[in-house]
């Protein structure tokens, strides 16, 4: 009987069907892919059993690309074409990148995001990241034996909109359907929280290869609620290597090292840093291309001294996050350590001292983010029964605003607002007969626009001529669950409306991405048409499956005629899937989506009512 058919919106009507979903930790130094197998999150290894994929891409003259360990060996031999730590350049301009002077790349400053000139041509950081994602995708598909439904890709919590958008674009280039961009500390909290069945307020201290995040989360009854997040999107293990590298140059009196030697010494610096976790000193031996021999010993005290300022740079954001959460260190029940750089004893000491407790290190700091992402991917793909799912409530890390008179920012959405969120602000014209108005969208905490990140500039035209101050222009900011912003503006007065929607751009336009996609497909000898067709077929099949599951669960919300209409649309789309016209399939997808709008609204209403009654039952029990 329909009344007894209890079905959560997240519950698939065909529970036996397991969708292949993975979590991907796209790291500065290493990347990983994980999945949930028989209810347990596991990292997927490569064919020789290695779980980490070094985030290194080497472009070769013969147009081939090496990724991971294959590229790692070439760092000092072919530094210009071997890209390490590309994550640091994602959504970043040349002036935003630190230590650019010791980087061996041939940078090309482009509007919004930096590019790299390689032997295989000019590459954007998005394309470099896509190469890493492609390897992880094929690793997952080989290991799981099928095409992926989708992936959760993790990003530093402190990534701004441009960096998030760049990550999503990289996934698109790699042919991955992104179920969600998930903040790395939140992913770690899932892996930790569910393992330990914890309740209370926790801090996640995540120091990776190139980024630092601190998140304060409240865990209660299966809800992970981020109270505040802060960080430094350009601080990580790489900076510790950089300090050691400078010390080597100084101590060994090396001036103007070649790019090969720079890479060689940076590698030695990293080895020494890693050795000092567990040893009191580390030898540094290297032979330079000039014939000069480097023979030094780095003592742990010297290392601690030279990196003291880096560690103190983590404490400022930590204090701010606590203050934004309205808490003090005494409220924190546990501190979770994430990221390879938290292995350093002086980092652990500083964290223990600040929080007045020993941090939790019982999960592998390199894997915990990927494992949490895999668990979330499993939920988002609809593989679990809705009732026992956990819920994530995350926040936006940096305020979003608009430029006002005099180059000042006006905040529209403050940092640490729970997402999704929308805010509208009204503006008016300041000249008689003004028909256009321009907007500049920025992200950051500083008062001056020049100190914030510029996300987009756009103009609203077609405002009907009126006296100054009479027009009402409403600008709406919407941040979705991925933390991505879209902005629209609309003139509200007397019947005339004009509206525009902008996607914040950081230099890669949709056309550019389409071009890169085309190039990468042609490159591997694929047929663009065939790929387009396959993509639309997959998308259509996904939609048909989702709508059928909805009909099975909540078909009683429809009148017979309405149901027949939807079923007709499904049948029509099915026919198109079997054909070979990708445009026809796309049209069919749009048409089925439109046909299910009312149904979707009724299902949502039902869910809202269920939440209310559920709440009353809880009250009743108490």
């Amino acid at each position: 009987m329909a009344l007894l058919q209890i079905s959560e919106p997240g519950l698939s009507a065909a529970p036996h069907q397991h969708r292949l979903a993975v979590g991907i930790d796209l790291g500065t130094t290493n990347s990983l892919v994980a999945t949930v197998r028989n209810g347990i999150a596991v990292v997927l290894n490569d064919e020789v059993g290695r779980s980490l994929l070094p985030s290194i891409v080497r472009y070769k003259a013969d147009d081939r690309v090496d990724v991971g360990y294959a590229a790692q060996g070439a760092q000092a031999l072919d530094p210009r074409n071997t890209i390490v730590s590309a994550k640091r350049f994602m959504g970043r301009g040349l002036k935003d990148v630190a230590h650019i002077e010791s980087m061996p790349y041939d940078f090309l400053d482009a509007e919004g995001m930096v590019r790299l000139r390689t032997v295989a041509g000019v590459r954007s950081p998005v394309e470099v990241s896509a190469e890493i994602l492609k390897v992880l995708r094929s690793r997952a598909e080989a290991s799981l034996g099928g095409e992926l439904t989708g992936a959760v890709i993790t990003v530093p919590a402190y990534f701004d909109d441009a960096q998030r958008q760049a990550t999503k674009d990289a996934a698109r280039l790699a042919g991955i359907n992104v179920l969600r961009l998930l903040n790395e500390p939140t992913a770690a909290a899932i892996a930790y929280g569910l393992d330990n069945a914890s309740e209370g307020v926790y801090a996640v201290f995540d120091l990776g290869g190139g980024t630092f995040d601190i998140s304060i989360l409240k865990l209660s009854r299966g809800v992970f609620e981020v109270l505040a997040t802060n960080g430094d999107a350009a601080l990580g293990g790489d900076d510790f290597d950089q300090r050691v590298y400078c010390w080597i140059l100084d101590d060994a009196k090396i001036t103007f090292p070649s790019i090969e030697d720079t890479r060689r010494l940076l590698l030695k610096a990293r080895e020494a840093k890693e050795m000092l976790t567990g040893h009191d000193e580390a030898p540094i031996h290297a032979e330079l291309s000039t014939g000069q021999a480097v023979d030094l010993t780095l003592k742990i005290d010297t290392f601690a001294e030279m990196t003291r300022t880096l560690i103190s740079k983590t404490l400022g954001p930590t204090r701010k996050a606590l203050r934004d959460a309205g808490l003090t260190v005494d409220d924190i029940k546990g501190v979770v350590m994430v990221g390879g750089a938290t292995r350093m004893p002086q980092v652990q000491r500083a964290v223990a001292e600040y929080f007045k407790q020993e941090p939790l290190t019982n999960l592998d700091p390199d894997k915990v983010v990927a494992l949490g992402a895999a668990m979330q991917a499993n939920v988002l793909a609809g593989n679990r029964a809705g009732a026992d799912d956990w819920l994530l409530l995350d926040v936006i890390p940096l305020s979003l605003g608009l430029e006002t008179m005099g180059g000042l920012t006006e905040k529209v959405i403050p940092r640490n607002s729970t997402i999704p969120i929308a805010k509208a602000q009204e503006f008016t014209t300041f000249k008689d007969g003004q028909t256009a108005m321009s907007f500049h969208v920025v992200q950051g905490e500083r008062e001056l626009v020049a100190d914030c990140r510029s996300l987009a500039k756009f103009e609203l035209r077609g405002i009907p001529p009126m006296v100054a101050g009479a027009a009402r222009i409403r600008v709406t900011f919407q941040v979705d669950a991925d933390g991505l912003l879209s902005v629209s503006a609309r003139e509200m007065t007397s019947g005339v409306e004009a509206s525009i929607t902008v996607k914040p751009s950081y230099g890669l336009t949709d056309d550019e991405i389409a071009g890169m996609l085309k190039e990468s497909i042609e490159h591997v000898g694929d047929d663009v048409q065939a790929r387009n067709l396959r993509e639309q077929q997959v998308e259509a099949e996904r939609l048909v499956e989702a709508v059928e599951a909805a009909l099975a669960a909540d078909g009683r919300l429809l009148r017979a005629g309405e149901r027949a209409d939807i079923e007709e649309e499904i049948a029509a789309l099915r026919k198109r899937i079997a054909g070979s016209d990708h445009r026809a399939i796309k049209a069919g997808i749009d048409s089925l989506n439109a046909a299910t709008q009312d149904f979707a609204a009724r299902r949502m209403d039902q869910g809202v009512k269920r939440a209310l009654t559920g709440q009353k039952i809880v009250e009743f029990k108490l």
């Binding site: 997240g10 204090r319 988002l380 793909a381 819920l391 999704p420 979707a600």
Partner: protein, 177 residues
């Protein structure tokens, strides 16, 4: 299509329409509601459902923030009662209050200039106590006495106090970095 909120935020969460809110109940109702409408619950569904889910989750977040924050909650209740504060234009305050405000502001500016962390914290504590008093007043005015003009007046003062608190927070932050 924007979700239709036929109910006010209080009924949305199944709570009585009052300034005094059971925080635990509000949290539980909020979590239960997001458990139904949040985009993570609809990620594998049709695009129409995903879009609707984002709109609903956005509204539920806004509703929660409004009821959770005393200042916003008071504003909201006054709006529901048809007694809006018109806080943008109505800045006429009693001279004694404005005088007091100026003294506060000077104290904050002095402590900031002197880099006196301790003094700023002390000022913050005093302001918080002051704010607590005003919030209690607002509660009495709204829930017991239904005296909306009095509530609106106390609310305007509370806005000044909270603005000062933010200034102290900014000063403290500036001192730390």
């Amino acid at each position: 299509m924007v979700p239709d909120f036929r109910q006010d935020y209080f009924s949305l969460f199944g709570l009585p329409r009052a300034y005094r809110v059971d925080a635990g109940k509000l949290d539980r109702a909020y979590h239960a509601m997001q458990g139904q409408v949040h985009p993570d619950r609809h990620a594998h569904l049709a695009e129409s459902e995903r879009r609707l889910s984002m709109q609903w989750a956005t509204q539920v977040n806004e509703a929660y923030r409004t009821l959770k924050t005393p200042l916003l909650r008071a504003h909201y209740l006054l709006r529901l009662a048809g007694a809006e504060t018109d806080h943008e234009s109505n800045t006429a305050m009693p001279p004694a209050f404005l005088m007091e405000q100026m003294e506060w502001r000077e104290a904050v500016a002095e402590a900031r200039a002197a880099g006196d962390h301790h003094e700023l914290e002390k000022l913050m504590q005093r302001l918080k106590r002051h704010g607590d008093g005003l919030r209690a007043e607002i509660e009495r005015d709204l829930d017991a006495n239904k005296d909306y003009p009095a509530a609106a007046d106390a609310l305007r003062r509370l806005m000044f106090i909270e603005k000062l608190e933010h200034e102290i927070e900014d000063a403290l932050e500036a001192l730390e970095s």
